[in-house]
Amino acid sequence: MQRPSGAAAANPPAIELKGINKHFGPVHANRDIDLVVERGTVHGIVGENGAGKSTLMSILYGFYTADSGDILVNGLVQKITDSRHALGLGIGMVHQHFMLVDNFTVLENVILGAEGRFRIAPALHKARAALKALAAEYKLDVDPDAIIEEISVGQQQRVEILKALYRGADILILDEPTGVLTPEEADDLFRVLRTLREQGKTVILITHKLREIMAITDNVSVMRQGAMVRTLKTADTSPGELAELMVGRRVLLQVEKQPSLPGKPMLEVKKLTVNDDRKVARVKDISLTVRAGEIVGIAGVAGNGQSELLECIAGMRDPVSGEIRLAGDKISLRGDDGGRKARLAGLAHVPEDRQRMGLVTSFEAWENSILGYEYTEQFGRGPFLDIKAARAHAEERIKTFDVRPPNPRLKTANFSGGNQQKIVLARELGQDPDVLIVGQPTRGVDIGAIEFIHKQIIAMRDAGKAILLVSVELDEIRSLSDRILVMFDGRIVGEADPAKATENELGLMMAGIAATGGETR
């Protein structure tokens, strides 16, 4: 299946970058990048957050202009000034966050930006025919008249790909394309990518998932700290080697942990129903139990009610019905100070989205290290804030969790994603809670930090805490959890033993297709 990737010299590479440099103020985001992407290949680009992948692709796509260096498209030097220009050269991009108009049809989205003249009907008509041809050629079936918000995320992604192809893209850049997909949808995507390759298109795949690199790419380039470390043939490398190249040191990809010794039930959720802001039920009659000393993982595709479940248990969202018990006692977390009530009851919460919820990014690190606990006596008597005590506390937390740089006075936005997450974890674990609920603990976190964060979560478990974990990363759920519950459409559709369940079984459950026994417990 390996296609000959090094074509003849007469046939120039689809993309060639020479000595690309890009500064943002004092930050050297890309340094002397050389990259060759052969025509008709799938080329992976891996690297930690902040390694410069997105900057590089943005330069290629015309969002930024490089400070120096040359871009060669099909052997010719080009000055790419904006995305329209890039498209003109046959470069299309599928963003991580789709650029679709939710209440438009597929067809309307495809012609967006290429509507033609005053009347829109001719453009639609033309696009319909073209779409049909493309769908047939690349096996990309989508109903052109479906409304975007009514089709699945995987389908939406196809629309993004179709959009690029319709505009004549020859080279497709995909930025973290599988982040929002079920394993099955990801497989579908890979099938599409293979078809594209067979038809002679070139694909650049940006990802941090090494498994995907191994599964689909022909060549892979590793970036670290703004520099291109190496480009390898995928067939000649291994996930271990790639991880090491990305981080610059050896990394444990698998978490080491002892079997769990569950104690008494600490967190009990009974017949819980929760609505979202639009009063649509997102959690439907869920019951679950987390015992002391165990990690219960909730697997599921994003948007199946996990967020609402977490927020409800953490006191941020009032339930419609049902009850929550902590260490056997029924607790009420209603009201808009529910978060504090939960903390007082011994429940700590690492939210799914640290920047949106768990941190104030414009605060200094020490301020975030007391967020949610600022009212306690340890940070000042009565109404006053003891800034000295808070900073000392932050300093200790930062040291314990190896936050870098170890400066409590640094603005939080200036820490990397992984270090921001460490600040949140350090804060929430530091108050010795009985129950810890964790959402997406390693989303947007570098491989090196992932290892550290996983170890901390396991250490909490071993200290006898009850931990409820939600993650869309199936690997993470499988390696951390002692029990897995699968959530689909607001319900728990199955339970699995992480040691036995295969990815395929879990994937089917996550897609709501198969449910094993042990419905709601």
Partner: protein, 376 residues
């Protein structure tokens, strides 16, 4: 990715407002030139009018006191992420609270009347701001809309109250009776004759105390921490379990109470009676003061002083220069508000580029610069 490009704090606080101010004065100078006067003379007239005599200085400080109060009112709300543009109406209604207390007790003692009048003004102003706060917190009615609407309601309601209840029988003007001297806020000229006939009064001490109190409240209390959390990220304050509803209502009450202190300065300190529309735009100037002062007490004090100078020096300019009338003074003031308030970010991009150009000193220093003392 992409560095969080920013400029040093000193440049943000000193250089940027200064550049805006210079530009405002340059353009004002052009306006003065257009009506056939010498801009340099105009600048001199403003400066001399504001500082050249004890009377002038007294008036400058008097106006500045008003603007400190309204500036603090806007700033405290801004720290909570709330844009209170209703300081005008809040100060107006607070005048009612002050005058009711003063009318009832003006035969007693200044030590009783003034503190109670302050409380009365704070309560009325606070209540007038808390209602939009509550509507925002509970009903999602946008505070910008409601506070400005409350300005109109205040204006109409105060006319009704003045006309119906407070106007002495047989009087023509829309104003209450004059207070007995015991209810007057002591003016500084009583102790410092140098201030001539200017109305600057002990409210200025209250203003200074509140500037310090503001700093402590915002940066050294748990309430202030919660307030700033909500202001920067309301979802984070909800996550932390701070009640946003409570925070919004309390913050707005404090904001309205601060605006209400302006009524003490004017009603007890100058007019000694309640006059129709006595606020006369001071509430709106507070917005510019807070913007220009970066919501920090030191900045607010300086900005309030600047606007005090413009008010006092501007009116003096009219007397000195024959072609300059009230409207021209308004134009100058409006230009300053425009450049320091509404367009305060005008020079920011170029400054950022300038400082980024010096970035050879390395990333660490840049980070240290942008982050050092953002709390102080």
């Amino acid at each position: 990715m992409g560095g969080t490009s920013s400029i040093p704090r000193w440049a943000d606080i000193v250089l940027l407002p200064l550049l805006n101010l210079i530009l405002a004065f340059l353009i004002s100078g052009l306006v003065v030139l257009m009506i056939g006067e010498n801009p340099l003379m105009a600048y001199y007239a403003i400066f001399y009018g504001a500082f050249g005599s004890g009377d002038g200085l007294g008036y400058t400080l008097y106006y500045a006191t008003n603007f400190v109060f309204t500036g603090l009112a806007v700033a405290i709300a801004a720290h909570a992420g709330l844009f209170n543009i209703g300081a005008e109406g809040q100060a107006y209604v607070a005048g009612l609270g002050a005058i009711l207390v003063a009318l009832a007790l003006d035969q007693t003692s200044v030590f009783l009347v003034v503190p109670l009048a302050i409380l009365g003004a704070a309560a009325f102003g606070g209540m007038w701001a808390a209602i939009p706060g509550w509507l925002q917190a509970k009903r999602g009615s946008h505070i910008v809309i409601t506070t400005i609407m409350f300005n109109f309601i205040a204006s109409a309601a105060m006319i009704y109250v003045l006309n119906r209840f407070l106007k002495p029988a047989g009087s023509n003007g829309l104003e209450s009776r004059v207070l007995d001297q015991t209810a007057w806020m002591p003016q500084l000229r009583l102790f410092m004759p140098g201030f001539g006939f200017s109305p600057v009064n002990l409210s200025i001490v209250l203003a200074l105390l509140l500037l310090v109190g503001f700093y402590i409240l915002v940066w050294h209390t748990k309430f202030g921490f919660a307030l700033r959390t909500m202001g920067k990220n309301p979802l984070a304050s909800r996550y932390a379990g701070m009640s946003n509803v409570k925070l919004i209502v309390i913050t707005m009450a404090i904001s309205g109470g601060l605006a209400g202190m302006m009524a003490i300065n004017q009603v007890l300190g100058l007019n000694h009676r309640l006059v129709e529309n006595f606020v006369a735009g001071a509430g709106f100037v507070g917005i510019a003061v807070a913007l220009m002062g970066r919501n920090h007490p030191v900045g607010i004090a300086l900005a309030a002083l600047l606007f005090g100078v413009l008010y006092q020096g501007g009116s003096e300019m009219q007397f000195v220069m024959p072609n300059v009338n009230k409207e021209v003074v308004s134009v100058v003031q409006a230009l300053v508000i425009l450049f320091t308030g509404a367009m305060e970010g005008l020079f920011r991009p170029s400054l950022e580029r300038l400082f980024a150009g010096w970035g050879g000193s390395g990333k660490a220093e840049a980070i240290a610069r942008t982050t050092a003392g953002s709390e102080s």
